[in-house]
Symmetry: D2
Subunit: 258 residues, 4 copies
């Protein structure tokens, strides 16, 4: 049986002050990459510290989950920003997180845009370029975690930034590889058996079944597991167990020897 | 004639979005140290970038002007924070600024607390310790700019952080070395001749005349010049010219060769 | 058996955007007064609308839960504000909530300060005055809900504002009627039997047993039930049931016929 | 000579905390309508109080200048909001301002959307509807100040809300009545003689000369004068004087006898 490798990433540190979201500590025992909110759409300095400390303790790689400055909208609303401002906000967020990553004994290793920024930069060439520009201004050795074959992956390739593709085991895909809109029925899969089986398929065969029953090639180096849905921790635990049973090695896509 | 050296520092980058405060560009041609707001009491990523770029262009040293998270109050209102939260917020602010300092080709070299944090940490031993702790968690080689003989300078000394004392040429001092409260008449000096003469005296003799006419020893390595008062730029230019005439070398207290 | 009357109040609408706190809908079926967060320490327009609509639907009286402008600290940190600014912020918050109360078919009927503002204004005469001033500027017919025999109740009495005292069934009291500090063991009671029995005692006898076993007179017209602790809804339901069994009528302290 | 009437409106109260923008006091002696920022894109409770007090003192009508919750972007960036959230935010802002208008002895009389909300709702039918819905939820007797023949004026007409058209004396118009984009040369007119003459023409003839020299009918009941550009107060004073000389009566479009 061939040994394959996949990364499990999750959006963490998404509380703010007295408000919590998800169980960061539990998830940090299950994933290999932590997308840590940096204070613009969620996250606060204390939460960033706790997540970074626990991530390093558990050998989880730290990524900057950068988003629009929109606490009230959790970064889920598109904001028509000036490109220079957005590049500066991305640089600000990565830098702020770097302080906690270093205090914990590691560094920020990759960037994943959040919410509306992620969705828009996936398909908008100009915005994708701004995101990559913000990353490069911090450190061109950071990787970017993004959808496969997206404007972000293309912008990264052009400028020489490593990009890694992620897939969603609990989301339906169309035949052309896009996620089915959340507004449509069946967009999100809830059955743990189904979701976990898809995760294993993605990791071992590089294929996922589309909504119309076809086999889609999806070369994802990482699988995103949600942290804030009901049963999120149990589902992540199940996926991890099933991957392990399937002889899949769970490991970050970044090489910390650099 | 003996050559002496003094630093001129100013609070810069204190705009926020569409709002401006002071003339950063003009001041950056006159001072040797820029206390740059980091987004909590003032400042935004775009402003931080512009100030850092211009500071590096002009050879001005970059310091993090860290404050309470209180845009509505400009960081001038005491906030009863949990010490861990405050230490984390200081680390966050320094780190965020470091991104822009590095992108501009330099680094953050020192920290100066702002407003209510500055005033309280000057006299509150516990708070002073929290401030220094936040600095050390970022990098123990950063210096702190603070009042002479203050709880901050003492906390810094204990933990091995370099502290540099600043004086205010336009503020009245009491006989015991404290600033006269802004609530009292005569607390702020407005006459440019007087203010500039006091700056020269501080730099050349280490003495300043108190409100009751005594000579006070004030071993200040830096003089703070305000950026946001009417005539601020003209006053800073005058002070710089008079210091130069008095054979005082204007230079930062940090050694960037480290 | 004598019929007595008591109000049950709870802090509601304390979510912010994507973040929730407590189960507003469930609590609104159990209490007679809703202290609704107004957006400064918690709460957002959508949440304010939902709570006001549901409150009116259930006959629950709407009060403005006014707090410091401090989302990151949930209004729990003392902030050294200028009195005029604070009065204006109180007027702003009550007014904003009034829009949703009126759209739902009712009005704001009372004000309860939140968190650090509540704790400080209870014992600080000047601050108590500012709070009452903010209320009067909106409408001197609003009531204030506050601790018995506090600086707020005294300021209200002087200026002719109706004040109503609240007690906490789940907090230990000292012999002189103060709450035992949360920093001390035994400050918060967790046993539902005990808490509910204390609520009944407060409502029927006007007395509560202090930490040292004495009987304390506590003339509370309202009992505060928490919404955000584990088991909060169940405890509120239990208290309501036990009060009803004890022939206590649960009713707001305000007369909406005015 | 015929007597005609026009309103002069200006965006006021656009400071935030320590930051100021424009000279509210001077403008309040020149205009008949004050579009007062309500705290979402600019404005704070203290500023709202000062502007409302001075407006009432000078007989200036108070309008709510409602905008996106985006202090960092000054409400100038389009934000893809949920319609219900936006309606709630509009209701919140009007209500908050109403508190200060009433404390000053008057009421909010109209609403003018700000920045990106204004620009988008002028041409987006759905968004226009949301804006009008937010107004109606507060009070259907409020007027709306908006561009002539816009989606906002049409939505208002349908629902029975009074709308009043405004023109800009210092902006170039295209032949079809649109404003020339600010990105193009000549979009903003700076010569006081020209701008004032256009204001008089708008008020007396209902016509304005377009960028290509045609006469455009513009049935504007109000002229917007800027408060935050260099020379804004002088220009407003000049326009007011020239209108008076031309026998134009400067008066709000609302009838406060209602």
């Amino acid at each position: 049986m061939t040994m394959s490798t996949v990364d499990l990433n999750s959006d963490l540190g998404e509380g703010f002050g007295a408000w919590t979201m998800g169980d960061d500590d539990a998830m940090l025992e299950l994933v290999s990459s932590a997308n840590v909110a940096c204070g613009f759409h969620a996250g606060d300095p204390g939460t960033m510290r706790r997540v970074c400390d626990k991530a390093v303790e558990n050998g989880v790689v730290i990524g900057a989950h950068v988003g629009y400055r929109d606490l009230a909208g959790f970064g889920r609303r598109a904001l028509a920003m000036d490109p220079d401002d957005l590049s500066d906000e991305i640089l600000y967020q990565i830098s702020a997180l770097e302080g906690f990553a270093r205090a914990a004994g590691d560094r920020v290793r990759y960037v994943k845009p959040h919410g509306a920024l992620y969705n828009t930069a996936a398909v908008d060439k100009d915005l994708a370029w701004v995101v990559v520009d913000g990353i490069v201004r911090f450190d061109r050795h950071l990787a970017i975690l993004c959808p496969p074959d997206s404007e972000m992956s293309r912008a990264a390739a052009k400028i020489g930034v490593a990009s890694y593709a992620e897939a969603f085991a609990d989301r339906a895909y169309t035949a052309d590889g896009a996620l089915v809109s959340r507004k449509l029925r069946g967009a999100v899969l809830h059955d743990p058996d189904t979701v976990s089986a898809r995760a294993v398929a993605i990791a071992t065969t590089g294929k996922v079944t589309t909504e119309d029953g076809q086999e889609l090639d999806i070369a994802a180096r990482s699988i995103c597991v949600h942290s804030d849905t009901p049963g999120a921790v149990e589902l992540a635990r199940r996926i991890r167990a099933d991957l392990t049973t399937a002889n899949v090695h769970i490991e970050s896509f970044v090489d910390r020897e650099n």
